[in-house]
Symmetry: C2
Subunit: 310 residues, 2 copies
C-alpha cells in the first residue's frame, strides 16, 4: 500500500489532529520519513497543517491521483494536463497495458470528441479513457460504448439522484441537457478486438462549454461542487462489475440501455457527412444501431451519425 | 520508371533477342550499366541469357516484385518470406503509409487466418494485405471485407472463367471448395476508421493445406500453373476501382455480394465460441450480418462466426 494512502486515510478518519508518532507507527517508518511523505502530498495540493500535536488535513484537493483509488493504483494514470487521454491511452494500449487501464486528466489541450470533433476540456471537468481488452469481434464493440453510457447514466441516477438518461448513440443527458459524452477507438487483429478505448468527458465543476449552450454541469444540477474522484471511483467500480458480469450479454445491455433512453419513441433527425434522415426512433438493434420509422412507414437502420431530437 | 521495367518489357516484347546497345539507348545509360541491371534481375530469379547478339529472357519467375506492377512500384512491398503480411502491414499503417499500400509475401512463417487461427502459407500461394484508409465509422468497415471477397470472386469469374462464389462471411469458393480466405484488422480513432487492413490468402500453385481437405487451388482448377503476379495485378485494379466508385454504397455492395453468394437460401450452422446456431440463411443486412430464419420461424441476426453449410 502506498504510504500516502495510509496517511490520508488516518488524517481523514475524523479526528482533528494525528500525531507524527502515530503515523510513524502505522507506517513503520521514522518520523522524518513521515514528514517527507506529508511534504510530497503538500506539493501536489493537499493542505496539511503541522502543529505541535501533529498533522491536520485542511483541504483535500479533488484531483484523481492514482493513490486515491485503492486497488487501482497500478492501473490509473493521472495527468494534470495532457494533449488527449485518447492519444495517451492508445500508446499504452499498443504497448500492451492491461485491461481496465485508466488515463485521467485534469485538463486536455486537444481533447477529442466523436467524429473527430474537439472536446472542450476546461479545469473542473472529468476527462478519462479506459482501455478495455475483450477478445470480441469488432462488430460487437458498440456494446461497450452502450454499456459505458448506461452505467454512467445509472450512476448519476443511483448515487446523485439525478434523472439521467441516454441519447443515441453515446450521450448522457439530464433533463435533456448534455452532461457527458462518450467516444470509442479500437484496434482489431485477425477479426478480434485487441483493445477498445472508451473516452468519457463529464461536465462536473467546469464551466459548461460555450459552444454547447445545451450542456449542463453536475455542479449546477447539485447546487454545489461535486467530487470528481468520488464520481470516477464509483463509476469505475460499476462499469468493471457490469463488464465482468453475465449481464454483458447483448439483450441485457440493449434492454437496460433502452429503459434509460430518451431517444426511443422520439421524432429525430440523424445527420451524417452524407446527409440527413428524419424519422421516429423505434428501436435499437442488437448491434447498437438505431431503427428509424420513416414517413412512408418503412424502417431504416442507422449505424452512426449525430442525433437531434426534433 | 524503374530501369528493370523497361528491360523486362523490351525482353518480353516478343523478339527472341534484344541487343545491349538497344537497351542502352532506351534507358539512356551505358552498356555496362545495362549489364548491371540485368545482373540484378538474374540475382532475384529472372533467367536472362547473354549471347553475342544480345539478351534473351529464358524464364520469368512468378514473383510479385514491386516493379512488376507499373504505377504501384511505390506502394507494393514484396517479401520472399515474412512472419505475416498482417503484422507487417499493421506496422506500416501505424506509421502512416498511404491508402492502398500492399504487402505481399511468397511465404509466411506465421500467416494468420480469421479468429486468430493460423493460415497455411506454403510457397506457390498468394498472400497479401492491403491497407485501406477510408474515414468511415467502424460500423461500416465490414463492407470493405465484403467488397474484397466479391471483387475476388468476380475476378475469378471474369478473368479465369471459374464459377466462383462467396460464402459468408469472407470465403471465396469454387464448386463449394475454398480457394481463398479474407480477414480484416482495423484501427479506429474518435469513431472513425484510421485503417482497415484486409488480408487475402489465395490457393494458387501451392499444395492445398493438408488440414483443409475441402480446399482447392487455382492450378488444379485450371489444369496448369497460374501467374500469381497477373492475378494480383488484375485483382488490385478491380478492387481499387470498386472502392473508388459510387457503387461502394452499401446497397450495391450487398446486392452484388448476395448475387455471388452460395450462403443465402442454404441451411447453415453458425459456430462461435459461445455456441452453435442452426437455421436457414435468408439475407445479409446492410451491416454485413447474416440473417437466419430459425426452426420456429423467428429471425436471428448473426454478426460473426464460422458458417457451415449443412
Amino acid at each position: 500500500m502506498d504510504p500516502k494512502q495510509t496517511i490520508l486515510s488516518m488524517l481523514r478518519a475524523g479526528r482533528d489532529v494525528v500525531s507524527g508518532s502515530e503515523l510513524s507507527r502505522a507506517l513503520d517508518v521514522s518520523r522524518v520519513s513521515v514528514w517527507k511523505h506529508v511534504h510530497r502530498l503538500r506539493q501536489v495540493g493537499y493542505e496539511i497543517e503541522a502543529t505541535p500535536k501533529g498533522y491536520r488535513l485542511v483541504t483535500d484537493p479533488d484531483i484523481p491521483f492514482a493513490w486515491e483509488f485503492p486497488g487501482r493504483e497500478a492501473t490509473i494514470h493521472h495527468f494534470q494536463r495532457i494533449e488527449s487521454t485518447m492519444e495517451q491511452a492508445r500508446g499504452m494500449a499498443r504497448s500492451g497495458c492491461p485491461h481496465f487501464t485508466v488515463v485521467v486528466a485534469d485538463q486536455q489541450s486537444a481533447g477529442r470528441g466523436r467524429l473527430n470533433r474537439s472536446w472542450h476540456s476546461a479545469a473542473g471537468g472529468l476527462y478519462f479513457t479506459i482501455v478495455l481488452r475483450r477478445r470480441i469481434p469488432p462488430a460487437l464493440s458498440p456494446r461497450l460504448n452502450l454499456c459505458t453510457s448506461l452505467v454512467l447514466a445509472d450512476t448519476l441516477r443511483r448515487d446523485y439522484d439525478l434523472p439521467a438518461a441516454v441519447k443515441w448513440p453515446n450521450d448522457v443527458l439530464v433533463d435533456e441537457r448534455k452532461i457527458a459524452g462518450i467516444l470509442a477507438e479500437m484496434e482489431a487483429e485477425a477479426d478480434r478486438v485487441s483493445y477498445v478505448n472508451i473516452g468519457v468527458g463529464v461536465n462536473v465543476n467546469n464551466d459548461p462549454p460555450p459552444q454547447e449552450p445545451g450542456a449542463v454541469t453536475l455542479r449546477r444540477l447539485m447546487g454545489k461542487p461535486v467530487s470528481r474522484k468520488q464520481l470516477l471511483a464509483v463509476f469505475l467500480d460499476r462499469l468493471e462489475a457490469r463488464l465482468a458480469s453475465d449481464s454483458m450479454d447483448m439483450e441485457s445491455v440493449i434492454g437496460t440501455w433502452k429503459s434509460l433512453s430518451i431517444t426511443i419513441g422520439r421524432q429525430v433527425k440523424i445527420v451524417t457527412l452524407q446527409g440527413e434522415t428524419q424519422g421516429r426512433a423505434v428501436d435499437v438493434d442488437s448491434n447498437g444501431s438505431l431503427i428509424l420509422e420513416l414517413a412512408d412507414g418503412s424502417l431504416k437502420t442507422v449505424l452512426y451519425g449525430d442525433c437531434f431530437h426534433v
